[in-house]
Amino acid sequence: MAHDEPQAAHGTSRLGWLALVPAAVLLLAWWATAGGDRVLVAAWPWIPSLGISLAFRIDGLALQFILLIAGIGTLVFVYAAGYMAGVKQRLRLFGALIAFMLAMLGTVSADNLLLLFVFWEMTSLTSFLLVGFKHEKAAARRSAQQALMVTAGGGLVMLAGFILLGAIAGTYSISGLVATAPNWLDHPALPLALGCVLVGAFSKSAQIPFHFWLPNAMAAPTPVSAYLHSATMVKLGVYLLARLDPAFHDLELWQWLLVGFGGLTAAWSMLLALRERDLKRILAWSTVSALGTLTMLIGLPGAVAPGAMAAFLLAHALYKAPLFFVAGNVDHCAGSRSIDDLGGLATRMPWTAAAAAIAAVSMAGLPFSLGYFAKDLIDIARAEGGVFVWAGYASLMVGAISVAVAAVAAVRIFWHRNGRPVPMQIHEAGWAMRLPPLLVACVGLAFGLHPEWLAPLLDHSAIAMGGALPSTVLGVGTIGLDGLTGVAATLGAGLVIYLGWDRLHRMLERGFPLIDRVGMVAHYERLLNAIPALASWSTRWLQGGRTSGYTLIAAGGMGLGLGAAVLLALPPVVLPTTDLPIGTAPALAAITLGAIAALVARTSLLLLLASGLVGFGSAGLFLFVGAPDLAFTQFTVEVAFIVILVAVLLRTGASRQTTAGPRRAPREMIRAAIALGGGGLATWMVLAGLSGPDNRVLADYFGANAVPEAQGRNVVNVILVDFRAVDTFGEIAVVAAAFLAVLPLLLALKRKKETPR
C-alpha cells in the first residue's frame, strides 16, 4: 500500500483550469432546463432505416445525473490538479477525464437505446484508460482489463437485450418504449430481453454476481476513483434501471429480480468490507452496497421508492466522493492507505479531518444530515413496498456497518492514537486537495439541514421515474420517535462493529478462504484462462498444418451448406438447350482433358498443370460465348496462379512428391465421395439457376444506362468502375491487404532457406 507517486503535495497543475468545463456544463444544464421545470428534447436522424436517431431528452432524472456528473466533475478536476501535480502524463489523465465526462453526459441524456449503448461503451473504454493510468504496474493493468471485460462484456449482452427490446416494442426510443409499454408487456420474449438488459446494468453497477470488479478498480488514481467509482459511472446501471422502470415496474419478474439482487448485493458487499484493511477498498465495498440499495429501491413498488432512490443517490454522491478525496489525501500525505498504519492524523491534517467528519455524519445517517433524510425515505418506501422480514434485519446490518465504515474513515485514522507517535513529516495537503472534499461535504451538510431546497430537483427526478416525493418528509422537525429508535439501534450496532472491527476481521479471514475458492473472482480467473486454452485447442484441431485437411473442411462445409439448401428447396432442373458455337469444341475438349488428367495425375506438378488446362479451357469458352472481359481476366489470373504455385512447389520440394498409399484406401474413397458430391451439388445449383425464369431487370438497366449515365460502352467495366465502384474499391483494398499479409510469410520462407541448417 506504499505511496508511489512523487511527493509534490503543494504543487498545483495548471490543468486544473479545465474544471471550468464541467462548471459551465453545470450552469448551462441548470439554466436550460429552468431547474428541471422544462424537459429538453432534441433529435437528428442518424440511421433512419434502423430506427436509430441522435435523440436526446433531458428530464428530471437526466438533469439530476447531469448535475452530479458536472458538479462532482468540477471538484474532481480541481482535486486532480493537486493530486497529479508533477506526475508525468497528467495531460493524458485530464484528456481521458474530459472524454469520460462527455460520454457520461451523452449516456444520461440519450433517448435512443442504441445511442445510449454507444455512449455506455464509451464510458467503459475511457474508464479502462483511467483505471489503467499507472500502466507500468501489472496490478493496474489487470484491474483495468477486469473492469473492461466485465463492464464492456456486460454492455454487449445489454446490446442484445436492447435489440430484442426494440424488436418487441417496435421502437428504440426510450420515451416511446415507456409510453407504449402496456401494449407489449406480455410478449413471450420479454423475460429474455430483460435478462440481457439486467446483465448490462448489473455489471456496470457492480451488482452480484459482477460485484468483484469495483474494489479491484481501486488501482486507479484517487480522483478517478472518486469520480468514476463512487459518484458517476457505477451509477449508470442504476440510471438505466431507473430510466426503464416506468415501463416495467408492474412486472413481478422485474420487481423480484431488482429487489432480490439489489438487497443481496447491499448486504453481502458490506460483509466483504469488513475483510479489507485498505481504506479505499473499504469505501469501495460500501459503494457496492449503496448501489445494491439503489437497485432495490428501483425494484420496490409504490410511489415513494423513486423519491427515496433520488434522495439516496444524491446523498451517497455527496458523502462518498469527499470520503474518497479524504482517502486520497491520506494516501498522498501519510504514504499509506492501510488502516493498520494510520492513526491520529487529525492534528497534522485538520482540514481533511474536518471534511471526513462532516461526510461521515451523513454516511452514518445521523439526524439533520442528508443521509438521515435519505434513510428515512428508504424506510418509508420499504414499508410501503412490503419487503420481507429478513430484509429488515439485513438493512439494519447494512446501516450498522455503514456507521462503522464512516467511523473508520473519520474517527479511527484521524483521532485514534494507535499507541504510536505520528510521524513529524506528515503535513496537510495543498489547497487544491483540501477544498474539494470540504466543499462537497458542506454542500451535503447544507442540504441535510434544509432538505426543502432539494425538493424541486428530487421531485422532478421522482416524477420522471413514475413516482413523487412525499411532501410530509420535507422540512426540519419531522423526526419522529420511530425514526430516533431506528437511528439509535443502527448507531449502537455500528459502534459495536467499529470497536470490534479488528476482531471481526480476523474471524472473517478464517472463514473466507473457503468462500474464495468458489467465489466470483475464481470463476472470472477460470474463464479468463479458458480463453487461450480453447484457442490453442481449436487451433490444434482445425489447423493441423495439412492442406488436405483444410480443403476437406472448406469443401465439406460448403457441400453441407449447399446440400442442405438444395434438399430443402429441391429446385426443378431443366437442361438448357442453347446451341454452343462450333468454336467452343476445342475449349470443351481442353476442359475435359484437364479434368481427366487431374484424376490420374500422381505428382503435384502434373496435377497443377492439369488444373491449369481446365482454367485455360474455361477462358477459351468465355471468349466464344461473348464474355471477352471474363476470358482476359481468366487467362491472366491463370498465368499468375500457375507461376506462383509452381514456384512454391519447387521450393518446398512437393513437386516430386507422389500421393502416397494405394488408391483404394478408404480415405481415398471418402475424398472421392466428397469431390463427387460437391461437384454434383454445384452443377445442380447452376442448372437450377438457369432453369428459373430469366430475370433481365438488372441486365436491361445496365445495358440501357451504361452510355447515357456513365459514358462507357463496355458494360462490364462500367459496372466495375462506376455503378459498383465502392465494391471494386473494397476488392482492391482486400487484394493489397492480402499481399501485405502474405509478404512476411514469403520473406520468412526465403530467410529460412538462406540460413544454413
Binding site: 471477352p628 472481359d629 482476359f632 481476366t633 491472366t636 489470373v637 498465368v639 499468375a640 507461376v643 506462383i644 514456384a647 512454391v648 519447387l650 521450393r651 456513365a710 459514358q711 462507357g712 460502352r713 463496355n714 462490364v716 467495366n717 462500367v718 466495375l720 468502375v721 462506376d722 465502384a725 465502392v726 471494386t728 474499391f729 482492391i732 483494398a733 487484394v735 493489397a736 492480402a738 499481399f739 501485405l740 502474405v742 509478404l743 514469403l746 520473406l747 520462407l749 526465403k750 532457406k753 538462406e754
Partner: protein, 142 residues
C-alpha cells in the same frame, strides 16, 4: 530456375516495355472495349513475372515503380481519392467527366479513369510483388 537463357533475357528486354505498353492500352480502352484496370494490371503482372523468371526476382521487384508495397498502396489511395470530387455534385464515387481539346483530337478525361488507374496500380503492385517474391523463393541467393 535457369538464369542462363540468353535468348530469353534478350527477348525480355524487348518484350517488357511492349507488354507494359499493351497493359496501359488495355487500361485506357477499358471503358468502351474489352479491357480495364484489372485486366491491364494483370497484364502488367505478366510482364513482371517474365522479368522475374528470366532475370531475377529482385530485378523484377526493382522495376515496379516505387516498389511493390508502395505501388499497391498508391493504387488503393488513388482509387479512394478519385471518389471525392463526386461529393461536390452528389454522392461519393459519382464520377465526373470533362473533354480536353488537343487540336487534332480530343481527350476524354474523367475520375473514372483515375479510379481504374488505381485498380491497375493496386493489382500490379500486389500481385506483381507476390509473384516476384514467390519466384524468388526458388532462386539461389547471389
Amino acid at each position: 530456375m535457369n538464369q542462363d537463357v540468353v535468348i530469353l533475357r534478350l527477348a525480355v528486354r524487348l518484350l517488357y516495355p511492349v507488354i507494359l505498353f499493351a497493359s496501359v492500352w488495355l487500361l485506357l480502352r477499358g471503358h468502351n472495349a474489352p479491357g480495364g484496370g484489372f485486366i491491364g494490371g494483370m497484364t502488367a503482372v505478366a510482364a513482371t513475372i517474365l522479368a522475374a523468371l528470366s532475370v531475377s526476382s529482385q530485378a523484377a521487384l526493382d522495376r515496379l515503380p516505387g516498389g511493390a508495397m508502395r505501388l499497391a498502396a498508391a493504387g488503393v489511395l488513388i482509387a479512394l481519392l478519385s471518389g471525392l470530387p463526386g461529393l461536390a455534385v452528389g454522392a461519393y464515387m459519382t464520377h465526373l467527366w470533362a473533354t480536353l481539346p488537343l487540336g487534332f483530337t480530343e481527350l476524354k478525361v474523367s475520375t473514372v479513369l483515375l479510379f481504374d488507374l488505381g485498380v491497375y496500380l493496386a493489382v500490379w503492385g500486389s500481385l506483381g510483388g507476390l509473384c516476384a517474391h514467390a519466384i524468388g523463393l526458388d532462386e539461389d541467393s547471389p
